[in-house]
């Protein structure tokens, strides 16, 4: 159970002048500006949820996840993990969380992967039998054992991310934070990462919180998404619900035998090129079957397909709303 209550975070950003004069001036006085990276965020996360944070670069999602995992101190507000404030009881609370930051590894670059695990085993006071057991489970999901004796510096990015995932799970935390975990990974590595997240979530009921730019991650993993822009929460909810609410339409793509495309009162023909036409219609106005039937009465149809509004439409609309 994670409770985030009214957290804010502001940074001081130093303004640098231009050219020689700016540099000289900077020696004497420096102007700094307060930037609000996160503004008054509040939400709850239940045990066993997989929650995805999405938003454009600089939206504040990394800042949020770093505050939730105890790395950054909020300027105001509080974050409770399993009922305890992570910043007041850091050492106790982090015993129950695991963190993987895609950009930075917590593994020792110079040494074999097993050495890093051994250090973690001692830091988290995991007994040998439990450690072996966890490692066996992880080996089934990620095939980690062959990598144990390989120096981390010789690993591929995909292998290193595997190492980091296992490292974060060794102490069996109930909450797992993933910051941009799939960044730079190839298809195979992405697949095993997603499989890993699903399995730890199902088998151990681990709560997973991740930030991502990858829509595949969201579609395949998250039951719930939180959209952040400019440090503010824009949407919070089930993927389908959000889709229904802010993009409650479907797109019907029809291929005709000739170039003439009929129109229909209850939908919008927004694309027509050669013998392909695309219709956008509201689910409440008309069903796809009725529409196809109506259209086929006026022209001969060769092929049809239906496109749901995707996650990228959602994001586009959500950001677009904010601009207006």
């Amino acid at each position: 159970m994670i409770e985030v209550k009214n957290i804010c975070k502001s940074y001081n950003v130093i303004q640098k002048g231009e050219g020689f004069r700016g540099a000289l001036k900077g020696l004497i006085s420096r102007e700094s500006e307060k930037v609000q990276a996160v503004k008054n965020l509040s939400f709850h996360i239940q045990p066993g949820e997989i929650v995805g944070f999405i938003g454009p670069n600089g939206a504040g999602k990394s800042t949020t996840i770093k505050m939730m995992s105890g790395i950054l101190t909020p300027s105001s507000g509080e974050i409770l993990i399993n009922g305890r404030d992570i910043h007041k009881y850091r050492k106790q609370v982090v015993q129950d969380i695991g963190v993987v930051f895609g950009q930075r590894s917590q593994l020792d670059w110079d040494l074999r992967l097993g050495e890093s695990f051994e250090l973690l085993r001692h830091i988290y006071r995991i007994d040998k039998a439990k450690y072996e057991e966890t490692l066996n489970i992880m080996d089934q999901i990620l095939e980690i054992k062959p990598l144990l004796s390989k120096p981390v510096r010789q690993m591929s990015l995909g292998q290193r991310v595997k190492g980091d995932l296992v490292a974060a799970m060794l102490h069996a935390p109930s909450v797992l934070f993933l910051d941009e975990p799939t960044i730079g990974l190839d298809v195979g590595a992405k697949y095993s990462l997603r499989k890993f997240v699903k399995e730890v979530n199902e088998e151990r009921n681990t709560t997973v919180i991740l930030t991502t730019h990858d829509l595949g991650d969201i579609e395949q993993l998250c039951d719930r998404i939180i959209i952040i822009n400019n440090g503010e929460l824009i949407e919070d909810g089930n993927l389908e619900e959000i889709v229904d609410r802010i993009a409650p339409y479907k797109t019907l793509v029809v291929e005709y035998y000739d170039e003439k495309a009929p129109e229909h009162a209850r939908c919008e023909l927004f694309f027509h090129e050669a013998n392909v036409a695309k219709y956008r219609f509201m689910k409440k106005d008309i069903t796809a079957a009725a529409l196809i039937q109506a259209l086929s009465a006026e022209a001969q149809i060769k092929d049809v397909s239906i496109e749901e509004a995707g996650i990228d439409d959602i994001i586009r609309i959500a950001y677009g709303q904010l601009k207006e």
């Binding site: 640098k16 050219g19 020689f20 540099a23 000289l24 900077g26 020696l27 420096r30």
Partner: protein, 263 residues
Amino acid sequence: MKIYSYVCKMQILRSMTYKFNVYGNIIMQTIIMLTTSFFWKALYQNAETVQGVEIGSMLTYTVISSCISVILTTNVEQRITRSVEKGTIAVDLMRPVNIFAVFFAEDLGNVVALLFQNLLPIIFIGCIFIQVPLLASGASVLMFLISLCLAFFINWLLAAIFGMWAFTAINMHALLQVKRHLIRLLSGSMIPLWFFPEWLRIVLEAFPFVYLYQLPLSIYIGKCDGMSLIRGITIQLVWLAVLSFIFYILQKRAARKVMIQGG
């Protein structure tokens, strides 16, 4: 040439950006200068002059030595080391610009920034707390400056040649320390050579280090004039030529080595 002057100018700007570093360096260098002067004062408690040099000259020596150490700041060794460690050296060497010329332009820019940021405050503080470093005679200003310029080039070449060690597998950070300590002792920057035993002095004069600090400093306090001055500057010029030649050869070799390995 235009690109190098641009690099130089950018470095001046970059050096000025970090306010805290600038102040930190001034404070630290001041402390070092002051402690050295106290060291000499403590030693001179029992004696008026030692080896024909009195305390006043030693204090001037200390202040000017601090100033020279500002001018003899180089970064080229670290730059080469970093480039080799990160593995970007192959790309760097194959660029259309000469990477060593870029490093030189950066070091030059850095020193120009330091002239204002560090040298002026240090002279100022030296004048107030230690003593005004009066020049022995007006005529020696020019010779001092010439000698100092030569020292700058010699120092840079030494640093660059030394930086080539980075191409071998040896840990550079340790070697850079060795170089720093050796130069400090062997160049007369802290303890002038005339305090050294005769035999050691003769040995040291065969190395380039004494022409970095000892020579310009001796000119400044008037302990080196006439024939010995001409001799000193001539030796500086010879070292400059010799080191340039060595540097040229090493640079060619490094480029070839990297081409074979990294190409």
